[in-house]
């Protein structure tokens, strides 16, 4: 029996169309638009000025506060402007626009493909360098990695969990990374282990990626303390708490963090970025983005510079097809539909999915028939139908009591609901309102 998390979960059609496509390098765009807020926490502060010439890898915005991340230029060229531009949500935020001129990198960055396995840095220095390189969680939540690696005093961590689950349909960027850069990845994991001071690391991979499992299993004997675990295919296994439960059978308490049960979870993409930052001196300026869709000519995995317009990626893979009804930033379960496609790829963009009309259109909403399917699929053991009702009636205190803040917005409830009720929409609204109430209470 393969391991998995015990409570809830769904199995959406996998549609991993691009799993066979090797990572392709997207040609340099003419200009990049780099938002100063690509991570959770405080936005970074621009340190370049209009008209300045910069090299790829140069820092262009410095982190402000502990929970924040540095931002580096992904290209060489001239700063055209620093202005408010639309991001993927349609709202405007400050972005640094750079006109691309050539492809000149900072001399300190090692861009050769040579594998560097020896770890020379001490744990603390690794964390410092991660912060310097602006590394954030690449799974999509974009939480600054150096914050996660700095274990709060009094807490202990004994095992590092590496998330190679990629449970979202369509997405294959992590999958390709595991196949194509396994040694780099494992070195990155060793680096993370050293930074955390743990002896053990477990890589969790869903069983629909057998080639990645085999490849990594072949190589792990060369690395101390790392093991590979195949998991049963079930959404949302890639969620931190579910993965911890599946792999080491520990339950993160409500409102707690993984470190409360002695573990830290990092994504494979993050581990690879850590390898590049520490061993190659390369900050986080590019990432692998899956561009996929059923009617696309050739679904691809593209190594893309941060700040490239999403439009460029779609054009490169053959352009928008007529049947496209919705373009999604991220996976189809948790990703967000785009209202504009001329918006930049950011550190958290794992995929661009083109959905057909019938895949994307919401069906007519009916009344709740009390089938309790949403309750049985909720991986957090919540009652989505009830949460929606109390939020509609604005009973926020009741919603808090019903643990609404434990919801991680996986969308399993909305996915399974036979009456097509917008359960997650209302739960998100409730989370925002309850979060506000909690913050106000803390201030008092």
């Amino acid at each position: 029996m393969l391991k998995t998390f015990p409570k809830g979960g769904v199995h959406p059609p996998e549609n991993k169309l691009s799993e066979g496509a090797p990572i392709d390098i997207l040609p340099l765009p003419e200009q990049v638009v780099i938002p100063i807020n690509q991570h959770l926490g405080a936005p970074a502060e621009p340190v370049v000025e209009k008209g300045e010439s910069i090299k790829a890898g140069q820092i262009i915005a410095r982190s402000k506060g502990f929970v924040s991340a540095n931002i580096h230029s992904s290209v060489s060229g001239k700063v055209l402007k620093i202005d408010k531009m639309s991001d993927s949500s349609g709202y405007k935020q400050t972005c640094i626009v750079i006109k691309v001129e050539g492809d000149e990198w900072l001399e300190t960055i090692d861009r050769s493909g040579e594998l560097k396995k020896d770890i020379s840095l001490a744990g603390e220095d690794i964390i410092k360098k991660c912060a310097e390189a602006g590394i954030v969680g690449m799974g999509g939540a974009t939480f600054p990695s150096h914050v996660k690696l700095s274990i709060p005093p009094g807490k202990k961590c004994d095992v590092l969990i590496i998330n190679g689950v990629e449970c979202e349909p369509y997405l294959t960027s992590d999958h390709r990374l595991m196949i194509e850069k396994p040694e780099e990845l494992l070195t990155g994991i060793s680096l993370l282990m050293k930074a955390l001071g743990v002896e053990k690391a477990m890589i969790g991979i869903e069983n629909n990626k057998k080639d990645a499992i085999n490849k990594l299993r072949e190589l792990v004997p060369g690395y101390k303390g790392i093991s590979v675990h195949a998991l049963r295919v079930k959404y949302p296994q890639g969620a931190e708490k579910q993965l911890i439960k599946a792999l080491i059978n520990r339950e993160v308490p409500s409102g707690g963090l993984p470190v409360d049960v002695g573990t830290i979870v990092h994504n494979v993409g993050t581990a690879f970025a850590v390898y590049e930052a520490i061993q190659k001196n390369k900050p986080l300026v590019e990432r692998v983005v899956t561009v996929s869709g059923k009617d696309m000519g050739k679904p691809l995995n593209l190594l893309t510079r941060i700040g490239t317009s999403i439009n460029n990626l779609i054009e490169y893979t053959g352009g928008l097809v007529d049947s496209t009804a919705k373009v999604i930033n991220g996976g189809p379960m948790m990703g967000k539909a785009l209202s504009l496609i001329d918006v930049p790829v950011t550190k958290g963009t794992s995929g661009i999915i083109l959905l057909r009309e019938e895949e994307s259109r919401r069906k007519k909403t009916g009344p709740c028939i009390r089938c309790s399917k949403c309750v049985s699929v909720c991986p957090m053991g919540l009652e989505p139908y009830l949460l929606m009702t109390v939020i509609e009636k604005e009973l926020f205190e009741r919603a808090e009591k019903e643990r609404i803040m434990d919801c991680m917005e996986c969308g399993s409830c909305s996915f399974i609901c036979p009456a097509n009720r917008p359960l997650l929409d209302y739960i998100r609204l409730g989370k925002a309102s309850v979060g506000k109430i909690i913050r106000e209470r803390k201030q008092k």
């Binding site: 639309s86 709202y91 209202s339 917008p422 929409d425 209302y426 609204l429 925002a432």
Partner: protein, 287 residues
């Protein structure tokens, strides 16, 4: 047989009397004095419990107003001057003059003015859309058109205009309780001073983008050019974040700014038509 009935009646009566005495003394002992004026004031209030005064309901407002020495910061916008005068009479005070106000929707993004850029088919709730993304049009500031304000109105003073997709305030019914102002996640609705014959001049836009992007998103957007500010003789207009704002307390309704606005973002409503029609009269958003 009859003695059983007699004993029952006597014992039950005794029990009743004893219980009544206990209750009486307890009530005397734990009596809480309440100002009888609170009840009277509450009766004088409209009893809508709308929260427009800032209190949870009419009772709370009555308690506060009786307790307070002055009327400072206390006003029932629903009842207006008449109600406040009645309350003042009960309390033996003078009611201060409070100018009546009315809600105004500061967005004129009709389908003709504001092109649709995406299609939203999720939950019909303005706050949900606002938290999710910029909205169905290119303007991330304007009305989302899902009618949360209309739902919030307890006085049937608002409705959604199907043609324009925008909410409309019925001036005669609006009591300026401010429920719609609180309900709107985009802060589009404002309470403005009510003028004679419901005449009003206001900037019907809340877009804070620079001129170019604002105009691109909506034909009648305020571009923050500052022409209106210059032409105003009463210092009623201020420009902040690329957006003009007309202070209704200072505005004398002279209409100079209206003809000056290059995009037609400033609306004049309920005025008689101008004699020399240099400019086409802006479309009326009000019924």
């Amino acid at each position: 047989m009859s003695s059983v009935v007699l004993i029952t009646i006597i014992s039950l009566s005794l029990l009743g009397i004893i219980a009544a005495l206990i209750l009486y003394f307890v009530a005397q002992k734990f009596k809480v004095y309440e100002d009888p004026r609170i009840d009277k004031v509450e009766e004088a209030l409209p009893g809508a419990n709308c929260g427009g005064c800032g209190f949870a309901g009419c009772r709370n407002f009555a308690e506060a107003i009786v307790k307070s020495e002055t009327f400072e910061g206390l006003n029932c916008p629903v009842g207006g001057a008449e109600t406040m005068a009645r309350v003042a009479k009960i309390l033996g005070r003078e009611a201060p003059e409070v100018e009546p106000r009315v809600a105004v929707v500061r967005c004129n993004g009709t389908p003709e003015n504001r092109k649709r850029t995406s299609y939203y088919d999720g939950a019909t709730n303005c706050t949900i859309v606002h938290n999710l993304y910029g909205g169905e049009t290119g303007c991330p500031y304007g009305c989302l058109g899902l009618g949360e304000c209309v739902e919030a109105c307890d006085f049937d003073a608002m409705y959604m205009d199907n043609k324009t997709g925008l909410p409309v305030v019925i001036d005669d019914k609006c009591v300026a309780c401010g429920a719609c102002v609180k309900a709107c996640p985009r802060n589009i609705i404002e309470l403005r001073k009510k003028a004679k014959k419901d005449r009003k001049i206001y900037v019907s836009c809340v877009n804070q983008d620079k001129g170019g992007p604002a105009r691109k998103a909506c034909k009648v957007a305020c571009i923050g050019c500052g022409k209106c500010e210059k032409v105003c003789d009463y210092d009623a207009i201020t420009i902040e974040n690329n957006l003009a704002f007309i202070d209704s307390d200072k505005c004398k309704l002279c209409r100079k700014c209206v003809s000056e606005c290059p995009t037609g973002a400033i609306l004049e409503l309920n005025f008689p038509p101008r004699k020399t029609a240099e400019k086409k009269e802006p479309e009326k958003a009000e019924a």
